[in-house]
Subunit: 148 residues, 2 copies
């Protein structure tokens, strides 16, 4: 769960620390505690076919994973990195890019937080879907690692 101020702070953090997110026009649209939604305009992220560039789709999906962990952990001493990712591009994205990261199950997130507290290192798998017209356009799965 995040209020408007926390969403804007996360967005500002992205822009300041990861400059390509500003060039992509990424906005942190919503986090209801179950789903984090990032959006980005097609105009800045299209490819030679006028649909969303695979590289932009991959970048925003990765960012959605980071974003969810930042909002859940709220721990400045924690370094988050991505270790692996896999993507399936099922159909082209023709309008605004909408990336949704699902919050993992409560138990999974607790295990991750406990492992991080105890070992100063923990890993978690996050799934992100890029949707259009209620259909999955891209399915992303990423393994993220938190390090102290």
């Amino acid at each position: 769960m995040a209020d408007e101020l926390q969403l804007r702070e996360t967005e500002e953090f992205f822009y300041r620390k990861i400059p390509i997110t500003r060039a992509m026009g990424v906005r942190v649209a919503e986090y209801d505690g179950n789903h984090l939604k990032l959006v980005a305009p097609l105009a800045l992220n299209h490819n030679h076919l006028g649909t969303a560039f695979g590289g932009s789709l991959s970048a925003i999906a990765t960012l959605a994973g980071y974003g969810l962990l930042w909002l859940e952990l709220r721990d400045n001493t924690c370094h988050l990195v991505i270790r692996k990712s896999s993507l399936s591009f099922c159909r082209p994205v023709r309008r605004e890019i909408v990336a949704i990261c699902r919050r993992p199950a409560w138990e999974q997130l607790q295990t991750f937080k406990s492992a991080f507290a105890e070992h100063h290192k923990a890993r978690i798998t996050l799934d992100v879907t890029i949707e259009e017209d209620g259909l999955a356009a891209v399915e992303f799965s990423g393994i993220f690692v938190a390090l102290r």
Copy 2:
């Protein structure tokens, strides 16, 4: 193999058709017929830790795959899309991003071109490595599809 003019034309094509590549500062550095090399400055592509952002790494690897196929096919009627990708992030990239796409074996490329000529559709797997100090920092494998 590509001469300086073809490299600049490919770069211009990227900038014109895939605007985020300009924001990333991607340069098409070299294609010796075996390896296509793309580079991008860290200053435009870093993350919150001062190393290369996973999303930028993923985007430049995807672009290297497209670029190799464009240079090999040189066919304006051909639409290239990415179907699947998987990435392993082995170590952080601390300086300029250097992405190298290996040309597939001659037979594999011929099979791809023949399938495309005959069925107007063909798929091929391409591998890209992002290297630093002679070590692989990121291993990318992507399935690309050519459509008429």
